[in-house]
Amino acid sequence: MDVVIPLVFVGVLAAVVLVFLALTLVPAFRARQSRSLARAVGLELDPSIAARVERRLTLRARLGAVGALIGLAAGTALVLVGDLGFNAGAWLVNGGFFIGLGIGVSASSLVALDRPSEPTVRVARSRDITLSDYLAPHELIPTRILVVVAAALAPAVWLVPRDAVVLPALFPAAPLVALLAVGAAVVLEVGGRAVIARPAPAQTAEQLAWEDALRATALRQMLTAPLTLAGVSIIWSGFGALTLLPPSVGQIVLGITMPVLMTGLIVVAVLSIVSRPQRYFLRHLWPDLASPR
């Protein structure tokens, strides 16, 4: 039973990824993806750029899907080999999927390079750029903090008495998910810097802006895994830490932290919707092009 449910989950995820991979073969789907991205990032999809954007998005979708499938397979193999329990099994599969997706997306940005074939006018940015030029502070900073907190809280699970009611759900799931969150954060920090360090050959400012758009969206995809995994790990480890307190104190702490946590999540979600973080790079790097469309 502990293994069967994660395996059903694996099957569903793999099927979704395969359908998505098949859709990348359909020209109409690829064109729609490009138009959808243009609307999201707030840039005009000029015909001279459309083919380039479509090619890059397709490559990203395919390498991301392949990475996700490999991560899924690796997670599944570990679930089958080890006796990890339901929670750990499900999140190992989930973590493998997202980390694999992040590595695939990062690889697609590293592979893709559209160099002009002949000498031509070239434009480049005159200052150095970093991750914080592409990712909004309210996304990047909380992610880094959550990963550190998850890694710091995970050992608390080892202190929970072995006969505690919650232990089967927490161990080894919470420390394992914290470990996956750290791995995903490494993919973001190392892979993300590698993506940014890649040359961005462009003949016009519009091409450079689109290059930034593609990089920003790739980095935001890579951010999903550490954010989600760290959040889950903190909740589990937090429950573990609560069991170490006397029951009456634990209930009070839980009564305070849960509403605060839920409110915080709602505030962050609303902020994300209102501030349109997918256009952060545009407002930050291309204020002239950013319009309230």
């Binding site: 000498p119 006018v121 005159s126 961005a200 050959p201 400012a205």
Partner: protein
């Protein structure tokens, strides 16, 4: 947005196009003191130039005192436009004083300056 444009068809050498644009952005305040410039390799790749061309530009800007290299941390904008102008004025005064000491007339000194500018 602080952009650099290199036109391979221009009569002006690429390193001079690059130097003039970086200097203009620093003097106009678009690139402020402390801002890190792209690495030589990155800028060369982006602009389709040889790394030596970009390195030469950075070297000349560093000699002019407008950028500074901080070891492996990279190249940074060093001075405010006023300070750069002061540095240029000091260099000009030193140049004239040296040529006067050598007994070089003004017209010949200008020829040397033009030749150095073109090299």
């Amino acid at each position: 947005m602080t952009l650099l444009t290199i036109d391979p068809g221009s009569a002006t050498p690429p390193y001079e196009q690059l130097r003039a644009q970086v200097l203009a952005q620093i003097q106009s305040g678009e690139l402020s003191a402390g801002v890190r410039l792209p690495t030589v390799r990155r800028l060369a790749d982006d602009l389709g130039l040889a790394p030596n061309t970009v390195a030469r530009t950075y070297r000349e800007l560093e000699q002019a005192g407008v950028v500074e290299t901080r070891g492996r941390n990279g190249t940074f904008v060093a001075l405010s436009p006023d300070a750069a102008a002061r540095g240029a004025q000091e260099a000009a005064v030193a140049f004239v004083a040296r040529l006067r000491a050598l007994g070089i007339p003004e017209t010949e000194a200008r020829d040397y300056l033009d030749a150095a500018w073109q090299s």
